[in-house]
Symmetry: none
Subunit: 192 residues, 4 copies
DNA sequence: CATGAATGAGTATTCATTCAT
DNA sequence: TATGAATGAATACTCATTCAT
């Protein structure tokens, strides 16, 4: 009696997700060239061959992970936040809160940020994070809560710092993480 | 006219320097695993075998480059600056000036910073940059020019940003570099 | 209504036959090494695992097919023909008729011939086809209807040609097949 | 002191030729799937890696050998022969002489014929051998020396037999090779 | 019995290193 | 010294076979 069509689909889905999930961290830490399929498969807990059932090649797996890195890093949440009817200062604080909390608690998130930013540096990712943040910055500059300067540069700066601490948290468990407040202050005017 | 002993030595020196110089950039961009000797030698403009005359192995070359990365990145200048009888604010401004200028004009410098920081993340570098900067920060906090907070964390933050723009400049020629002023402000109190 | 013992047996028989039948063609075209179980099972229309219910291994399946290739190729009919009380010329004509007709109409037959000959080349098949044909040739040489020369060589030649067109018909549907007459003439004296 | 440019070129040429020459036989005997790079390199007497200096992949090596199989099989000589001002009967006899002699003495030649014909069966080779032979056949039919029938079919038949004995000679050293005379008679009218 | 996802031994390919020139 | 062809151990990838469902 054959396995049911749906159950097979489910198994496939599960295994593929497992591979992706575990690979994100591994690639983020070790890079493409630094990742051996033999080590990766051991880390995932499957046979080497299984990877090739779901991905044509190591490069293919990497590309797929790269491609979804913005999802892993929570781009959709950011876009939603930007759309809310709130003052920019609040948005920035919420965003910073969310980012710092996620970096601290969720290795996958940190890995997603790291991969997404690498992709940006190599010119292969769209700049959705930057652009959404730019909008918030401009709103804040109108409202007087955000420091003056090129929104683009400020956005890059903000995300650069997020990247920085993402990478740090991948390498060292106990890194002296900045607070959400520290991060917000990069954009917000000091209140005296 | 036979080559004199010294001339030979000179040539050796020159070739070795060429290899180091060109390798710094290559390793900084591609990492250890991502660097193939075949590609690297092409990039340097010599034969693969030549590298092995000067270095025992790829790892040996990498180690040597790593070992001098803090020199490339100008650690000695920083130490000297810290020792001068100047207010911390001035030191920070001078330091930031120097860093931004170097990042802009000297690829080798950027590569040195990138490699040094990678080493730090992997826990293999001493933390001289951080520590020297910490001293300046503490001085500044006493003098009232530097924001309050853990000197260690502020130092890490400052150098994180330098690293960030070092990596950026390795990848994109025209990256929207921050100004020395932007960089200084990370540590300095806002003056109203 | 539970399946009877016999019905079960029948189903087994049917599936096994299906596998053999479809495999003959596949192996004949692609050879042992060139046949992947994954491709073969797709071609048969069953799951990979099913093959292993009926055959211990790929080699086992191949061996079984090889073993019956002379039956597929109609060796028994040839032996019977040789035994009939007929002049050699008639036997040769009947044999050629039968071979050409079968090659044209029955892919399985062509595949059987191809496999049998491959086996011969590799020295693993007995030479029953050759030997039976040799007898007919010798009879014909006595009767004056068959060209002179080594019966062995003529027999090899005759079957070589049959093999040739067997292979051709496996690859190209519309190959310019020789006629039974052409084939007979390889052995028979020209009549003026 | 570096190797001279020319010497390097020479060495490359030599090694590539060695690989091609030895591979022709190996592939002809074992087919593509049946040939392991590890075995092939042992057979050639070089390291596995060396093959990949000259060929991008196993497939690439095979394709290159396939592509030149008509040269190995001596297509140019055949074309030249067809152009000579001779009666067709002489051409056919010379051609058959040459073919049988080459098959007997030169394994490479046999391998070339085998590969070329495989290519034909797979529809990837042009049909230069067939076409040149067709011309000679038509000439001979006009001159009355060649049997009647479709020139195309006769040509296919003739080359089929050559292929047959090419394959045979690859497998068995002492195969009962037909004589040049036997081969010629496939096309020529019997003289009484 | 039938299925097809998973396995891992086997095979292809790469790349740091060596060495004859 | 400098070269780059050759090497073979390390790594990527395939495919016959197994096994839980």
């Amino acid at each position: 009696m054959p396995k049911s069509q749906e159950r097979c689909q489910e198994i496939r889905e599960e295994t593929k997700n497992l591979i992706v999930k575990k690979s994100v961290l591994y690639f983020a830490k070790n890079g493409f060239a630094g990742t051996k399929i033999s080590d990766l498969s051991k880390h995932i807990g499957i046979a080497q061959g299984t990877i090739y059932i779901y991905f044509k090649s190591k490069e293919d797996l990497y590309a797929e992970i790269f491609a979804i890195s913005d999802k892993i890093a929570g781009n959709d949440k950011l876009v939603m936040l930007a759309g809310l009817p709130l003052p920019a200062e609040q948005k920035i604080k919420k965003m910073s809160d969310y980012l710092i909390k996620s970096l601290r608690d969720d290795e996958m998130f940190a890995a997603g940020i790291a991969l997404y930013t690498q992709r940006l540096l190599e010119g292969e990712a769209d700049q959705s994070f930057y652009k959404t943040t730019e909008k918030i910055i401009k709103q804040g500059q109108k409202e007087g809560s955000v420091v003056s300067g090129s929104a683009r540069k400020l956005s890059e700066f903000y995300w650069g710092i997020v990247y920085l601490y993402a990478v740090k948290s991948l390498y060292t468990a106990d890194s002296a993480m900045i607070t959400a407040n520290d991060l917000s202050r990069v954009l917000l005017e000091d209140r005296k």
